[in-house]
Symmetry: C2
Subunit: 178 residues, 2 copies
Amino acid sequence: MDLSKTAYVVLGMLRLGKRTGYEIKSFMDRSTRFFWVASYGQIYPELKRLEELGLVEGEAESQGGRQRRAYMLTAAGEAELRSWIASGGPLHFELRHEGVLRLFFADAATPAEQVGLLRTIRAEHTRVRAELAAIEPAAEAACDEDGNRFPLITLEFGIAYAEFITDWCERMERGIDV
Amino acid sequence: MDLSKTAYVVLGMLRLGKRTGYEIKSFMDRSTRFFWVASYGQIYPELKRLEELGLVEGEAESQGGRQRRAYMLTAAGEAELRSWIASGGPLHFELRHEGVLRLFFADAATPAEQVGLLRTIRAEHTRVRAELAAIEPAAEAACDEDGNRFPLITLEFGIAYAEFITDWCERMERGIDV
DNA sequence: GCTCACATGTAATCCGTTACATGATTCT
DNA sequence: AGAATCATGTAACGGATTACATGTGAGC
């Protein structure tokens, strides 16, 4: 089956538990956001499509007037998810980093501006690091509870990644005489 | 002036020398590709727009039957580029990493599949590292020639980045008992 | 009463890629 | 002679974001 990446993310999210479209989005904002994002405009239509394909199953859970439709993975959905994870196929990788792009052209700037740019980049990743560290306790708790280790592992990857960049910036800053 | 990121890349590329649209694209493929990419479909229309704005100046250089239009930066273009580099504004940062995304869900896979996935990710970044290392001599030569240090610095950043990820994968691989 | 979080969805729009169309020159 | 590279451009398409529209429930 040829599904979009978004489809697989949705399947993966549902494997971690029954969820509504809203919950998928907010959970992604607190977990995969660092290396993968999705918007409502992708998630809701995708859930419909996956239900038509029989990979997920939705159920109305409206209590009172508030509408709510929670989805869960079917056996076919779980199989599809697993085959995607284990398929050795090419891995889409894409980085867009405006800070490094500006740095690429930074010979046009003064040393003071160069250091300023490096500090701005560093501040950005310091902020990201703090955001990831803030969700770490919740990720640890979830790991203990349901036994899924990889969400925590990838979170730690994100933290190490942010530190790698901040360290690199710091070294560069020290190397420039203002 | 409110220009797209693509516009600034084009300005930056022209600051490094008079170039055609084709040359901008192929140069980007050998320099910024790791953290910023652009296609002909963006570059050619952008060159026209920038010329209308007076930020670049094109000149027909067709020798014989082959058409060729090379552009160079105007003083206004150089000023615009510099103000972008030094403006402390928010830096667009976006990562899409399908390997890490799959890893996030890898609790659904067997240990052997988990190690296989990590090896695939590592192989991908090892390849990127080799590609970047291959263009390093040319970048060093260019640095010696025109004195622009940052293209080489950002290239070295790319190499360190690739090594960071391959090292991380290796550590993870060792931590899984197959 | 107000604000914030929960909840669903679509339409307009933007951004960017891919494919196509065309042709000259250079290298093997 | 044929392949690869140089060179320009557009049209169709796809993917994703943003804004909009709508309403409930909980806490202050």
